[in-house]
Symmetry: C2
Subunit: 458 residues, 2 copies
């Protein structure tokens, strides 16, 4: 009986071993795809100096920060837990600038911490899986397509039974539009309304814009603008038809056209769309912005996002380090995909073989067989309890895919039988001194064709 | 120029990307071996409730704990960062007892935090790689050999060019010995002296024992005892020759004999030794105890350790969960192995191919080729800067193993050349619409036999 509350802290993911294998598989797929695309992994500490974390942030971020104090230090906390990977990356780049190769392609897969109000699907300790490409001085636009295509590849590796869509825009387009409409002074308020347009009705968006004292023509232009979405050619033509005479606007349209064009050419047309509703917050991004969604699951909202920033390190250095990056919020995504039943539980990786020595006399044999199996890159565990055989088998069926019972006869002949717990079928398995001879799984003679036939195995 | 101090916090590991790949390789090898041995991964949160972390600990541990407070909460901290994996595992087992399969084989590879005084080779934020086997009520002794052999396999996977040795003892032996010598009241002080015996001269150990008012015969017996080490048969015989009449002593000797015997039978004789100096701290362990060392690098000290504990969860539950576990302190180990030049820098995993389009016209082709290479499970990155070709090649040689320049001719013919940056040699590489035809690396005709011959590639 429990003598203390043993639940994990509120807002943390804690999984049973079976679920954890599914989570781990997704995490390692992301790492693998990032690596295949040439993103080198780095790890910065979870604990940072507070002055680094708050160099840029204010307001909300500050409130969400977890400060860290040693028990025996009663002074004010000067350290805190990182709330994202971007600030530590900026610090890292300034610190090691002379040892790094630019453009620098970096992945960071690790825990971030935010003291948000705990609620369903919101986490205070969570995995973010980031990629970033950072240049010294300049960074060609083409890298924006590198980031988007890498994230799309990562999601492809999930093998979800539902499509994925990257919604892409460019912040310069809105910025130029508002400038041309002489609304730059209200850019923050208007961006905020567009950013929230999908959470309210179109009528509410209109009212919100009118409340800012915009004239009818301005409201109409903005509403028309934010409803632009679809394939590159359509949206680019529609943007050009707005006939906005503004350099920033035109630069944004050209950049968007180029990024989408490259993504189309490499065969990703079905997975990308231009969408002028994409803003990604009010500061930070300065060019390409994108969000990933599952179009068949609109309620889920964004499952990844990112964009281009003019200068990553402006709070830490005088030198310009432009970058483009994206992030998958894996802990939240795993929660969402599990809730939506979108994760194939076949991703659950069981130990391949459970070896079950009948008595202590077969223990050594079991250890040797396990060793041999592992040398051949299989996973194997040995069940060493002194329980009854049926209890051992029941345990084996829960923790492994196949069971091999080892009795006196088996140790003498080296002729074993393997039971596949999923199908209930049994096949021969030979372990002789020279090694294991595994029967081909496709050879029907290896399986007992009639399941009703009595088996010497069970 | 820096405008702020950008160093990481004191006592944290922060690596350049090249070093990080070596660290990551070791970490993933450990995970893989643990998994092959049937240990399921779990992750508990880094942040725990303080009452959980301090349920057992007192004194030193409490001082080393990092408390965690939300900036906007001015109340006393009730949460802290975990300082090991064992306490969270105990909480986890009590919390999910009814959903877990016992004996439970668990691995935990993650960050722990200790506010120790920062010094060379000591870390405040560090990776521990733990395995534990936990039973409900009972747990057969044989599992102790499972843990030791798994850790040995993990170290084998490091492919270090130096032997590894597991020094093994059993706490019951010393406990029974002291009981027989009527010294149980001084067990803590004596254990402490033995635990430190390797850090001082034999004479100092003798003096320390004498200072406890032990008589000559007691001092002699203890000194003889702690100098016992070597192969199983020798040490077991020597222990029996001590003719200690005590049940605990005899049980300890029998257990040690069995664990070592099984490890010998499965072919690990050269990697294990019995050693009565092994204590592993003063509380916690109750049976088998072990420490791993690199015998050729005595100064390094223990690189892993663990043992058997009677009851993991006694602070959280009335029910008994005996266990046996071990842990590799990977961050410290990586530091040590790097300092000792024991890590093969060949473990550094570079991106396999850097594709270098000469002009923008070849960008699409490069994206397609990269995609094709990744489909065939290679890693590939594209260098998209507008720098001169030689600068691009120089960048490529730093971040990847091979370079492929793509010019107009290459996009037309699909006949490419790959330069191996390590050897400087160039070979043909065919990328046609049907896919990539990779030449066999063993075919000498693929390589330019005379390096002095002018190459069309560079």
């Amino acid at each position: 009986m429990k003598t203390i509350n043993t639940s994990p802290i509120s807002g943390a993911q804690e999984l049973l071993p079976e679920q954890q294998t599914i989570f781990d598989t997704l995490k390692s797929k992301i790492h693998h795809i990032y690596k295949q695309h040439g993103y080198y992994n780095i790890e910065t500490p979870c604990i940072e100096r507070t002055e680094i974390l708050l160099a840029k942030a204010g307001g909300e971020t500050e409130k969400q920060i977890y400060e860290v104090t040693k028990t025996d230090e009663k002074t004010k906390a000067t350290q805190a837990l990182r709330f994202d990977h971007t600030v530590p990356l900026a610090r890292y780049i300034v610190e090691y600038e002379n040892s790094l190769n630019f453009p620098l392609k970096i992945q960071q897969i690790g825990l971030n911490f935010r003291g948000e109000r705990a609620q369903k699907g919101r986490f205070r300790e969570f995995y973010q899986c980031d990629i970033d490409i950072v240049g010294r001085g300049t960074l060609p636009l083409t890298y924006d397509a590198d980031v988007v295509s890498t994230l799309l590849d990562a999601f492809q590796a999930f093998e979800l039974d539902t499509p994925i869509l990257a919604r892409i825009s460019n912040r310069k387009i809105l910025s130029g539009l508002l400038n041309a409409l002489e609304l730059s002074d209200q850019a923050i308020e208007i961006s905020h309304i567009i950013d929230h347009a999908e959470k309210v009705t179109p009528e509410q968006t209109k009212v919100s814009l009118e409340e800012l004292k915009l004239n009818k023509s301005q409201v109409k232009t903005i509403l028309d603008f934010i409803n632009l979405n679809g394939p590159r050619s359509e949206v680019i033509t529609a943007l050009e038809n707005l006939e906005i005479k503004n350099n920033t606007f035109e630069a944004g349209v050209t950049e968007l056209d180029q990024v989408l064009g490259l993504l189309e050419t490499i065969g990703l047309s079905d997975q990308i769309t231009a969408d002028m509703k994409i803003i990604r917050g009010l500061d930070y991004y300065t060019g390409t912005v994108f969000e990933f969604i599952l179009p068949e699951y609109k309620n889920i909202g964004s499952i990844a996002g990112g964009g281009r920033y003019e200068n990553l390190t402006s709070y830490f250095s005088n030198q310009a380090f432009p970058g483009v990056g994206g992030s998958i919020g894996l802990t939240r995504l795993f929660y969402i995909l599990t809730e939506a039943n979108l994760l194939d539980s076949n991703n659950q990786e069981l130990t391949e073989y459970a070896l079950i020595p009948i008595s202590e006399a077969e223990t050594e044999y079991a250890f040797k067989l396990a060793d041999e199996l592992r040398r051949k890159n299989h996973s194997a565990t040995i069940i060493l309890t002194d329980k009854k055989l049926n209890d051992k088998l029941s345990h084996a069926s829960k923790i492994s895919a196949n069971g091999i019972i080892i009795g006196e006869a088996e140790t003498t002949t080296g002729q074993l039988k393997v039971k596949d717990f999923a199908t209930g079928k049994t096949r021969d398995f030979s372990f002789v001194t020279e090694g294991i001879i595994e029967p081909s799984a496709t050879d029907p003679t290896d399986f007992w064709t009639d399941p009703s036939e009595p088996s010497t195995f069970l």
